[in-house]
Amino acid sequence: MSETLIVQPAISTTTPPAGERKGLTKKEIAADHPTWCPGCGDFSVLALYFKLIEKRKIWHEKITTIAGIGCSSRFPYFVQAHGAHFIHGRALPFASGVSLSRPDLHVFVFGGDGDAFSIGGNHFNHTARKNVKLTYCVMDNWVYGLTKKQTSPTSPLGFKSKTDQWGAVDYPINPMKQAISAGATFVARTTHTNPNHVLQMMEAAMDHDGFSFIECLSECVEFYEHAFDASNPRKGGVFNEVPKDHDVTDELAAYKMAGEDFPGKFGIFYKVNKPTKNTKENEIVKSFQSKTVGMKDWQILQKNFDRMK
């Protein structure tokens, strides 16, 4: 059997058996103090990511947090674990490279609406349709925050920004519709003001075998205050969960629900099981390797060279 790319790291010698290890505490997982503005919705998402790691007993070495560029994309620096802060818009293909070559890891990608739907829009569609196994949590604040208030692809019509001083004129993207129509196999919506719900969605996303997408509303208190008040009961809004009788495998029903006026519904809109890109690639590997059982790598290559004589 030739060596495979898919190498499972040996169990760490200093790691006690899984049952005996305690979940990591926030103190052990927190790294730099976040650079976000006080009151930013992203704090809540980070806190719940810590909670997820603790609750699900994910060990340091297995955590892989990846982001592109933007306020929310600073995320990996705040997590004391393996992580990468990649370039603007390209976090998904980077994360796909990790996911496809390292099936032992569950990769989390965090980012904002500009990263996901503007500069990275093409990658969003293709990662979804390929069903690469990873979780993508987009902290959607409807504005460019890091560059200080320009129009984002999710800014609603009429939003006054520095690049649309008279109000945004371009029709916004609907992230949920985009995800469903692109072929994502897990599509959920949540908001930073409901921590329990955020954690629920993160757990369900992590447990999904495929491309899992969460749109998490995350208010930018500096450049788009009160954007999501209508979804926050404490601010006089309503938080309506996806109805119990909604069939999550019904693509049309999910798409329809995604089109509801703000604040719309929260929860899992769509979830189906389809073979992942990871599985399919692995099947190709298996079918090829069944023909080379017992051969060393150089012997496989030698067969090619023998044909070229």
Binding site: Y77, G97, L301, F305
Partner: protein, 604 residues
């Protein structure tokens, strides 16, 4: 058939056999005629006969059809280039005849398909014309189905007769090539071949025979540069790659897509060039150096991500199979005009390694070297090849794969402590530690494109930006010091030193041989390591009056090609001048010598 030496009577009696040590045959037709197949058969036969071989082809960049040529140079001695002038032209159409007759040396043979070509009286004197009704005889040979598919094999039968080629070996090659398909296909092919071989060439009295070549201690393998490069990556231990189709890089991704699963790996076709480089970097981050590649336009798109890999000090191999540029340019022609983008493409100060293989065999070894440098120095490495090498076929000594193939599985063992951007340890050359690795200190590394401290966390410190910039630059200086010292081909002192990089090596070697043969003091130096340059070049330059850099790109606004400009910047030596051209074709030896002689007569 330069150096035709001895005429000996053939065993058959009537026709005379001339012993030759090499032949340059140009086959011209349309792209769907299978002329590349003839070239491939001849090249493979040469490989099996321990001869040297080099091919050159042009294909139209149209979707289907269009004129195409395949030139093959076979020799009993060393073959350095595809040859300036052909000894024989095999042409299938009037346009093939008219467009390529000038590439045949005076007195050379023109073998034409009399069904389609009407020879011109004015050329009868200068070239020896031999007409055969190739198309109709092919149809006859395969039982008159009315189609001339197989005329390439028929023509190969003619060539086999003229050059007294090894019939059992060629028959075996035909059987291997068409075997596995319908038996009738093999039978048809052999019928065509035998018909061509048996055709009586009454008006061509001479036949030729190659001198025996030296016995080689290992078998030869025959492949093109893209194949050699892809197999080199596999031998080096690369198991993951990502790419987007573009000519002439696509062959490499197709081969890796097909082959990597056998080794437990995979190659992913992505939605675009940016996703391809990003995904490869992601896989490298996952612990095992990965590959991406493209040709000119795609490299432009990848530059931002490559800058990240420089900043984050992430190993990565990027293949650039150059073609004519800029923009879509000339997708199926050769040019060496991506040197600047590979060395300098991207914003900020982002030093990276660039290596240019000089031929097909070197593609195999360069791939391994690139992987090892990427790992050792934790940095992106460009393999800068070109269309000329990518598509040309050469025979070379079979590598000892058992010894060469390497295992580069990542090391996930616990680390007591790890700083991804340690300024002091190991001379500032970091080793990437992948996710899955436990760090006992509890401090985990972040791979980042922001300027950072030693753990990878963002910093605005002026001091750290300086130190980290120094570190990224200095590690390549350390690499430069480790590169092998170069030697000239030809004496180390003389009038002219021809300097080349990449695929021009063979042509400048041959130029030196020709110039030396007439008493001119010409030597040459082929440089594979473009960035960083190996140390000690100034010592070599000291031995010559003129240093002429031969490259297939434009002389630019100030009169110097891309590599010449780098050398002039590096050595501030006015003797360094340029020999360039941009016609999309490989160098002819004569062109180089003519330009060198003219330039030497002008003051620097």
């Amino acid at each position: 058939m330069s150096n035709a030496i001895a005429d000996v009577p053939s065993s058959g009696g009537a026709a005379k056999v001339t012993k030759i040590n090499e032949a340059i045959i140009r086959i011209a037709g349309n792209s769907q005629d299978g002329i590349q197949a003839i070239g491939g058969f001849l090249a493979r036969l040469a490989g099996r006969s321990e001869q040297e071989v080099m091919t050159f082809m042009t294909i139209p960049s149209t979707i289907s059809g269009g004129p195409s040529i395949f030139q093959v140079r076979i020799g009993s001695g060393e073959v350095l280039s595809a040859g300036d002038e052909a000894d024989m032209l095999l042409c299938f159409y009037q346009h093939s005849y008219e467009d390529h007759i000038k590439s045949v040396k005076l007195g050379g043979i023109v073998l034409y398909d009399a069904d389609h070509v009407t020879p011109k009286p004015e050329w009868q004197e200068s070239y020896r014309h031999v007409g055969v009704n190739i198309s109709s005889l092919t149809v006859e040979a395969i039982g008159g189905t009315g189609r001339d598919k197989g005329k390439n094999i028929y023509a190969m039968g003619l060539l086999a007769k003229i050059f007294d080629l090894n019939i059992p070996k060629l028959t075996k090659l035909i059987e291997e090539r068409f075997g596995g398909k319908d038996q009738s296909i093999v039978t048809n092919a052999l019928n065509c071949f035998n018909a061509g071989y048996s055709h009586s060439l009454e008006n061509l009295l001479k036949t030729y025979q190659f001198f025996d070549s030296e016995k080689k201690d290992r078998h030869q393998v025959v492949m093109n540069g893209n194949e050699a490069l892809a197999f080199g990556l596999i031998a080096a231990g690369v198991r993951f790659g990502a790419g987007y189709p573009i000519t002439p890089w696509s062959d490499i991704m197709e081969l890796l897509r097909r082959e990597l699963p056998k080794y437990g790996g995979s190659f992913i076709q992505t939605e675009d060039e940016i996703a391809a480089v990003s995904m490869a970097i992601g896989a490298s981050y996952g612990g095992r150096v990965a590959v991406t590649g493209s040709s000119g336009p795609g490299i432009s798109l990848k530059t931002e991500a490559i800058g990240w890999a420089v900043m984050a000090e992430m190993p990565l191999v990027i293949v650039d199979v150059q073609r004519g540029g800029p923009s879509t340019g000339m997708p199926t022609n050769v040019e060496q005009s991506d040197l600047n983008i590979c060395c300098f493409g991207g914003h900020g100060d982002s030093p990276r390694v660039v290596i240019a293989p000089t031929g097909v065999e070197d593609c195999f070894y360069t791939a391994i070297e690139a992987v090892n440098i990427a790992r050792k120095y934790s940095t992106p490495v460009f393999i800068l090849t070109d269309q000329g090498i990518a598509t040309r076929i050469e025979a070379f000594k079979e590598p000892n794969l058992e010894k060469i193939c390497q295992d580069i599985s990542p090391d996930f063992s616990d680390r007591a402590d790890h700083k991804p951007y340690d300024l002091t340890a190991n001379n500032g050359i970091p080793q990437h530690v992948a996710p899955g690795t436990k760090i006992l200190s509890g401090k985990y590394p972040i791979a980042t494109g922001l300027e950072h401290d030693e753990l990878g966390h963002p910093t605005g410190s002026p001091k750290l930006h300086q130190l980290m910039t120094d570190k990224r630059r200095n590690k390549l200086r350390r690499l430069a010091a480790e590169l092998p010292q170069l030697k000239t081909y030809g004496p180390s002192e003389g009038q002219i030193l021809l300097v080349s990089w990449g695929s021009s090596e063979g042509a400048i070697h041959e130029a030196v041989d020709r110039a030396r043969a007439v008493g001119e003091g010409v030597s040459c130096l082929s440089i594979r390591h473009i960035n960083p340059l190996p140390n000690g070049l100034e010592e070599i330059f000291k031995g010559f009056h003129h240093i002429f850099v031969v490259e297939l790109n434009d002389e630019g606004l100030y009169g110097y090609g891309q590599f010449a400009s780098i050398l002039r910047t590096r050595f501030a030596d006015p003797r360094i001048r340029s020999i360039t051209k941009s016609d999309g074709l490989p160098w002819k030896v004569k062109e180089i010598l003519d330009k060198a002689r003219t330039l030497a007569s002008k003051k620097a």
